[in-house]
Amino acid sequence: MHLSLDRLANVTGFGMTAGADGYLYRPTQVEEFHQILALAQQTGRQISLRGSGRSYGDANIGSESILLDITRFNRILDFDPTTGLIYCEAGVTLEQLWRYTLESGFWPPVVSGTMFPTLGGALGMNLHGKNAFKAGPIGNHVTEIEVLFPNGNQETLTPEHPLFHQVISTAGLLGIILRVKLKMKRISSGDLRVLPISIPNWDGQFRVFEQEREQADYMVSWIDCFGRGKSAGRGLFHAGYYTVDPSPNPITLRPEHQDLPDTILTYFPKSIVWRFLKKLNNRPGMSFVNWAKYTSSRILGNGRPHPQSLVGFSFLLDYVPNWRLAYGSSGFIQYQTFVPAEHAPRVFARQLELQQAAKLESFLGVMKRHIPDNFLFSHAVDGYSLALDFKITERNKDAVWRLAHQMNELVLLAGGRFYLAKDSTLTPEHFAQSIGMDALETYAKLKTTLDPQAILTSDLAKRLHLDPRA
């Protein structure tokens, strides 16, 4: 039996460096998920789960597999405006969540830098946000998930159930999350108080994170990866603090107040901004942009708190539509590593030196603080993460991969971790070493019982030997 060829579609990871052709299905009903599982069994074909396709690398694609796209399975089933408990299908996005709940005074407890991920994808990767140092990953705020396992069982898991912490974080390789109950965060204002602080070097970065850790609700720092010598690690730190709006029906909670503007500098339509960024998207151009951003950070607003909407602060990546196209047709990779606090200053400084030595500085560096969690494939440690963007071209590809492997070694020596949503460069050995043999053995056992025919896969699973068929 063969699948109809007109189901075929080409999909890519968000960074557009990895692509795959597969047979696309977009179910809207639970019965269809069961039918697709049956179809996979009949045809001996594997299934790759895909939400909004926001994972940067190859986690959301699977060559020649059934691409099970959950984006149409996206109804909000129930919401209690007194407790903030929301019950929805896994294709619901973070954007749907905040638009639905904000006027009742609730905000998603954890959001990524973009509002487009689905809950299913967010839990597969167990994503984190700028509040990771207090709130941990999104899985910490889930009270219940309904999961369809490839062995045919459909189960409802609460955090007390041992499988709860294993299905969440394992990149959709153990079961298909169908529905989610999530505890939303109560807020009384749609604005944060945001404090920008210009930071001259690595020492300053680590100091400010520790200093603001108690009071701040969100912390993130941008790093200029072109800064070297005494200026290595320079950048711009932002802390966000929840504020209290005394009015009973605050205007800041309305979506109109939150919506990102369509223009830059009043007149300039944002939809074309990426075309201009593309011109600057090369080493001298980005060296200049980073320098200009850092220099202006020292003058404009440094140390002066200002109000900013939650959406404006949280979803920085959505500020320039289609920004990824600025990287050109061969795309880019994101590389994020998580290093225990005591080793982070040394490892990050060395990662930057390696980039500069290779003349492959990341065009964007972002630093965050994290706390550990007990999910099976947890990416977090008690320490810091540094996220880097590398433009990929035919010519530099091998060099970027070599650089990434060098940086991986540093992270592994320091007992650090990697994040599957952002990964493109890990080898099976690097992943095994970072996650530990215990976690891998647990995963292998669970895979055998929950997915005995190894139906759930992805190109990432094949690359990291998480798919027993590969």
């Binding site: 699948l3 060829l5 020649e64």
Partner: protein, 243 residues
């Protein structure tokens, strides 16, 4: 040695002999993945044994065209994708100067035309959806004119040229490349005893180099020039010539 096939995924239909066999060998040797399709599996096996990780043989008779979509899918599954497909199957039985043998002619139509339609339609369906890949058909200089010696072989290749042109017009805007190759006589079982044939390894290397160049291509400059002229000779004159 062609290096542009490293990591590429190819299907060669008609891979048991001639240009097809040589294409499969060069792709495998060049680091590509290749699904080899032919009626005579025993001829595919040696290459598969040599490169077990990169060569996937499939037994299939192209005249059994109802089976083509399924075998096509098995090929893409084994390869884990598809970058290009080359349809090489073709037969040219000897035909006497006064022979009009329908059975023989239709058997040729089955291989040269019907099999090509079945395979390349499958590839076109896939590539129109996925928006990438190359479809390559092996036509022939023989398809440029109707000549006394091979009425149906000539027309079968002319059919392929026109069919590929139409696919090209449909698919180019989707990002798919469609390439028509018009070799002259090439060393193969088909041309045993002919003089002036092109060595098969040269022909295959040229085809691999042309695989992403949408359009019609001759493999020799002399063919390009000669057939530019031959195609333009008016019919009343052409029928008096012995070419």
């Amino acid at each position: 040695m062609p290096t542009k096939v490293i990591g590429q995924k190819a299907i060669i239909v008609g891979a048991s002999s001639g240009i097809g066999a040589e294409l499969a060998r060069q792709i495998a040797e060049g680091g590509g993945l290749v699904a080899t399709v032919a009626r005579r599996t025993d001829r595919l096996q040696p290459l598969a044994d040599k490169y077990p990780e990169r060569v996937f043989p499939f037994t299939h008779d192209v005249t059994n065209y109802a089976e083509a979509p399924e075998v096509f899918q098995k090929c893409t599954d084994a390869l884990g994708g598809l970058d290009f497909i080359i349809y090489c199957s073709g037969v040219m039985p000897e035909v006497g100067p006064h022979e009009y043998n329908t059975e023989k002619d239709l058997a040729m139509v089955d291989v040269n035309i019907s099999g090509a339609i079945a395979w390349l339609n499958a590839a076109a369906t896939r590539m129109e959806s996925t928006g990438h890949g190359s479809i390559i058909g092996i036509g022939s200089v023989a398809g440029d004119r109707g000549r006394c010696a091979q009425p149906v072989y000539n027309s079968s290749k002319a059919f392929l040229h026109t069919y590929l042109e139409a696919l090209r017009n449909r698919l180019v805007k989707k990002g798919v490349k469609v390439v028509t190759i018009k070799p002259g006589p090439t060393e193969s079982e088909m041309t045993q005893g002919m003089k002036g044939t092109m060595p098969v390894n040269d022909a295959a290397a040229k085809i691999i180099n042309l695989k992403d160049r949408t359009g019609e291509h001759y493999l020799k400059l002399t063919h390009r020039i000669a057939f530019f002229i031959i195609k333009r000779i008016p019919s009343p004159i052409f029928r008096k010539l012995k070419i």
